[in-house]
Protein backbone atom coordinates (compact mmCIF):
# COMPACT_ATOMS: atom_id res chain seq x y z
CA UNK A 1 0.00 0.00 0.00
CA UNK A 2 1.03 3.62 -0.48
CA UNK A 3 3.03 5.54 2.10
CA UNK A 4 2.03 9.13 2.85
CA UNK A 5 4.20 11.92 4.18
CA UNK A 6 2.03 14.70 5.58
CA UNK A 7 3.52 17.99 6.73
CA UNK A 8 3.48 19.76 9.07
CA UNK A 9 2.55 17.34 11.82
CA UNK A 10 1.31 20.15 14.01
CA UNK A 11 1.18 23.92 14.10
CA UNK A 12 -0.11 26.75 16.24
CA UNK A 13 -1.34 29.66 14.16
CA UNK A 14 -2.70 33.11 14.76
CA UNK A 15 -6.30 33.81 13.78
CA UNK A 16 -6.66 35.46 10.40
CA UNK A 17 -3.63 33.72 8.92
CA UNK A 18 -3.47 30.75 6.54
CA UNK A 19 -1.73 27.39 6.74
CA UNK A 20 -0.88 25.08 3.86
CA UNK A 21 -0.69 21.34 4.54
CA UNK A 22 1.20 19.05 2.20
CA UNK A 23 0.47 15.44 1.33
CA UNK A 24 3.18 13.53 -0.55
CA UNK A 25 2.60 9.93 -1.64
CA UNK A 26 5.37 7.51 -2.56
CA UNK A 27 3.48 6.16 -5.59
CA UNK A 28 0.90 7.34 -8.09
CA UNK A 29 -2.63 7.03 -6.74
CA UNK A 30 -6.00 7.48 -8.34
CA UNK A 31 -7.91 9.18 -5.56
CA UNK A 32 -6.82 11.68 -2.93
CA UNK A 33 -9.05 13.08 -0.21
CA UNK A 34 -8.85 15.57 2.63
CA UNK A 35 -10.64 14.97 5.96
CA UNK A 36 -11.12 17.01 9.10
CA UNK A 37 -11.38 15.61 12.62
CA UNK A 38 -12.59 18.18 15.09
CA UNK A 39 -11.70 17.65 18.77
CA UNK A 40 -13.40 14.57 20.17
CA UNK A 41 -15.31 13.92 16.96
CA UNK A 42 -15.26 11.67 13.94
CA UNK A 43 -13.77 12.35 10.54
CA UNK A 44 -15.60 14.45 7.97
CA UNK A 45 -14.72 14.56 4.29
CA UNK A 46 -13.74 18.05 3.14
CA UNK A 47 -13.10 17.40 -0.53
CA UNK A 48 -11.78 15.15 -3.23
CA UNK A 49 -8.54 16.46 -4.73
CA UNK A 50 -8.70 16.13 -8.52
CA UNK A 51 -5.53 16.07 -10.55
CA UNK A 52 -5.19 19.13 -12.73
CA UNK A 53 -8.63 20.51 -11.97
CA UNK A 54 -10.68 22.06 -9.19
CA UNK A 55 -11.35 19.95 -6.14
CA UNK A 56 -14.83 18.57 -5.45
CA UNK A 57 -16.09 19.93 -2.13
CA UNK A 58 -18.58 18.35 0.24
CA UNK A 59 -21.53 20.22 1.63
CA UNK A 60 -20.43 22.81 4.15
CA UNK A 61 -16.95 23.28 2.72
CA UNK A 62 -16.00 25.94 0.15
CA UNK A 63 -12.99 26.60 -2.01
CA UNK A 64 -12.36 30.08 -0.62
CA UNK A 65 -11.88 28.66 2.86
CA UNK A 66 -10.15 25.39 1.93
CA UNK A 67 -8.33 25.80 -1.41
CA UNK A 68 -6.86 22.51 -2.60
CA UNK A 69 -4.28 21.80 -5.27
CA UNK A 70 -3.28 18.53 -6.89
CA UNK A 71 -0.71 19.13 -9.62
CA UNK A 72 0.09 15.44 -10.16
CA UNK A 73 -0.80 11.92 -9.02
CA UNK A 74 1.46 11.94 -5.97
CA UNK A 75 1.05 15.35 -4.34
CA UNK A 76 -1.70 17.57 -2.94
CA UNK A 77 -2.01 20.57 -0.67
CA UNK A 78 -4.82 21.82 1.52
CA UNK A 79 -4.83 25.44 2.69
CA UNK A 80 -6.88 26.54 5.66
CA UNK A 81 -7.53 30.23 5.01
CA UNK A 82 -8.36 33.14 7.30
CA UNK A 83 -8.26 30.83 10.28
CA UNK A 84 -10.39 31.13 13.39
CA UNK A 85 -10.29 29.06 16.59
CA UNK A 86 -13.13 26.94 15.17
CA UNK A 87 -10.67 25.63 12.58
CA UNK A 88 -8.63 23.95 15.30
CA UNK A 89 -8.74 20.30 14.21
CA UNK A 90 -6.71 17.45 12.86
CA UNK A 91 -6.55 17.49 9.07
CA UNK A 92 -5.82 14.20 7.29
CA UNK A 93 -4.91 13.26 3.78
CA UNK A 94 -6.13 9.91 2.47
CA UNK A 95 -5.38 8.08 -0.75
CA UNK A 96 -6.61 4.98 -2.53
CA UNK A 97 -5.64 3.27 -5.73
CA UNK A 98 -8.91 2.41 -7.41
CA UNK A 99 -9.40 -1.34 -7.99
CA UNK A 100 -6.47 -2.15 -5.76
CA UNK A 101 -6.94 -0.48 -2.40
CA UNK A 102 -6.49 -0.23 0.49
CA UNK A 103 -7.11 3.26 1.79
CA UNK A 104 -4.09 4.88 3.38
CA UNK A 105 -4.20 7.82 5.78
CA UNK A 106 -1.54 10.35 6.54
CA UNK A 107 -0.49 10.84 10.13
CA UNK A 108 -2.46 14.07 10.27
CA UNK A 109 -1.79 17.74 10.93
CA UNK A 110 -2.87 18.93 14.35
CA UNK A 111 -3.81 22.58 13.95
CA UNK A 112 -4.42 24.93 16.84
CA UNK A 113 -5.65 28.45 16.11
CA UNK A 114 -5.16 31.06 18.83
Amino acid sequence: SAVISQKPSRDICQRGTSLTIQCQVDSQVTMMFWYRQQPGQSLTLIATANQGSEATYESGFVIDKFPISRPNLTFSTLTVSNMSPEDSSIYLCSVVQVTQGPYTFGSGTRLTVV
Binding site: Q41, S42, L43, V96
Partner: protein, 112 residues
Protein backbone atom coordinates in the same frame (compact mmCIF):
# COMPACT_ATOMS: atom_id res chain seq x y z
CA UNK B 1 -25.65 8.63 -0.41
CA UNK B 2 -24.31 6.40 2.31
CA UNK B 3 -24.21 6.76 6.07
CA UNK B 4 -23.17 4.87 9.15
CA UNK B 5 -24.68 4.72 12.64
CA UNK B 6 -22.61 3.42 15.51
CA UNK B 7 -25.13 2.45 18.12
CA UNK B 8 -22.90 2.86 21.17
CA UNK B 9 -20.84 5.95 21.87
CA UNK B 10 -19.01 4.22 24.71
CA UNK B 11 -18.43 0.57 25.58
CA UNK B 12 -16.77 -0.57 28.79
CA UNK B 13 -15.63 -4.18 29.23
CA UNK B 14 -13.50 -6.16 31.63
CA UNK B 15 -10.23 -7.58 30.40
CA UNK B 16 -10.73 -11.08 29.06
CA UNK B 17 -14.43 -10.64 28.28
CA UNK B 18 -16.01 -10.29 24.82
CA UNK B 19 -16.31 -6.98 23.02
CA UNK B 20 -19.21 -6.06 20.74
CA UNK B 21 -19.31 -2.80 18.79
CA UNK B 22 -22.48 -2.26 16.80
CA UNK B 23 -22.71 -0.58 13.41
CA UNK B 24 -25.62 -0.12 11.03
CA UNK B 25 -25.20 1.30 7.59
CA UNK B 26 -27.27 2.85 4.85
CA UNK B 27 -26.21 2.58 1.24
CA UNK B 28 -27.77 2.84 -2.18
CA UNK B 29 -25.27 0.43 -3.67
CA UNK B 30 -23.37 -2.64 -2.65
CA UNK B 31 -21.11 -1.08 -0.05
CA UNK B 32 -17.62 -1.68 1.12
CA UNK B 33 -17.38 -1.54 4.89
CA UNK B 34 -14.43 -1.03 7.20
CA UNK B 35 -13.56 -0.85 10.85
CA UNK B 36 -10.71 1.46 11.87
CA UNK B 37 -9.13 1.94 15.28
CA UNK B 38 -7.53 5.11 16.58
CA UNK B 39 -5.44 4.98 19.72
CA UNK B 40 -4.95 8.24 21.67
CA UNK B 41 -2.82 10.68 19.69
CA UNK B 42 -2.19 8.05 17.03
CA UNK B 43 -3.19 7.63 13.43
CA UNK B 44 -5.96 5.48 11.99
CA UNK B 45 -5.32 1.77 11.68
CA UNK B 46 -7.41 -0.56 9.54
CA UNK B 47 -8.79 -3.49 11.51
CA UNK B 48 -10.69 -5.21 8.73
CA UNK B 49 -12.74 -4.64 5.59
CA UNK B 50 -15.69 -6.18 3.78
CA UNK B 51 -15.79 -5.94 -0.01
CA UNK B 52 -18.54 -8.39 -1.08
CA UNK B 53 -16.59 -11.58 -0.52
CA UNK B 54 -17.11 -13.67 2.63
CA UNK B 55 -19.66 -12.17 5.00
CA UNK B 56 -17.58 -13.06 8.06
CA UNK B 57 -14.43 -10.99 7.93
CA UNK B 58 -11.41 -11.64 10.10
CA UNK B 59 -9.10 -8.79 10.93
CA UNK B 60 -6.03 -8.04 12.94
CA UNK B 61 -5.59 -8.52 16.69
CA UNK B 62 -8.38 -11.09 16.96
CA UNK B 63 -11.18 -8.83 15.71
CA UNK B 64 -13.84 -10.00 13.30
CA UNK B 65 -17.03 -8.58 11.84
CA UNK B 66 -20.06 -10.06 10.14
CA UNK B 67 -21.83 -8.38 7.24
CA UNK B 68 -25.60 -8.91 7.42
CA UNK B 69 -27.32 -7.39 4.43
CA UNK B 70 -30.84 -8.17 5.70
CA UNK B 71 -30.10 -6.22 8.88
CA UNK B 72 -27.80 -3.63 7.23
CA UNK B 73 -25.34 -4.29 10.01
CA UNK B 74 -21.60 -4.77 10.32
CA UNK B 75 -20.93 -5.43 14.00
CA UNK B 76 -17.37 -5.80 15.28
CA UNK B 77 -16.50 -8.44 17.87
CA UNK B 78 -13.53 -9.79 19.77
CA UNK B 79 -13.83 -12.82 22.05
CA UNK B 80 -11.43 -11.60 24.72
CA UNK B 81 -10.58 -7.95 25.34
CA UNK B 82 -7.06 -6.85 26.12
CA UNK B 83 -5.98 -3.67 27.83
CA UNK B 84 -4.37 -2.55 24.57
CA UNK B 85 -7.80 -2.57 22.90
CA UNK B 86 -8.74 0.64 24.70
CA UNK B 87 -9.19 3.12 21.86
CA UNK B 88 -11.68 4.82 19.56
CA UNK B 89 -13.29 2.62 16.90
CA UNK B 90 -14.84 3.88 13.67
CA UNK B 91 -17.20 2.02 11.36
CA UNK B 92 -16.81 3.31 7.80
CA UNK B 93 -18.78 2.79 4.59
CA UNK B 94 -18.07 3.64 0.99
CA UNK B 95 -19.90 3.18 -2.28
CA UNK B 96 -18.53 3.23 -5.79
CA UNK B 97 -17.45 6.87 -5.45
CA UNK B 98 -14.65 5.86 -3.06
CA UNK B 99 -15.59 8.56 -0.54
CA UNK B 100 -15.48 7.30 3.03
CA UNK B 101 -18.32 8.05 5.46
CA UNK B 102 -17.30 7.64 9.08
CA UNK B 103 -19.54 6.77 11.98
CA UNK B 104 -19.42 8.93 15.08
CA UNK B 105 -17.10 6.50 16.79
CA UNK B 106 -17.24 4.19 19.82
CA UNK B 107 -14.87 4.69 22.73
CA UNK B 108 -13.78 1.40 24.26
CA UNK B 109 -12.46 1.26 27.79
CA UNK B 110 -11.07 -1.95 29.25
CA UNK B 111 -11.19 -2.53 33.00
CA UNK B 112 -8.44 -4.56 34.64
Amino acid sequence: AQSVTQLDSHVSVSEGTPVLLRCNYSSSYSPSLFWYVQHPNKGLQLLLKYTSAATLVKGINGFEAEFKKSETSFHLTKPSAHMSDAAEYFCVVTNNDYKLSFGAGTTVTVRA
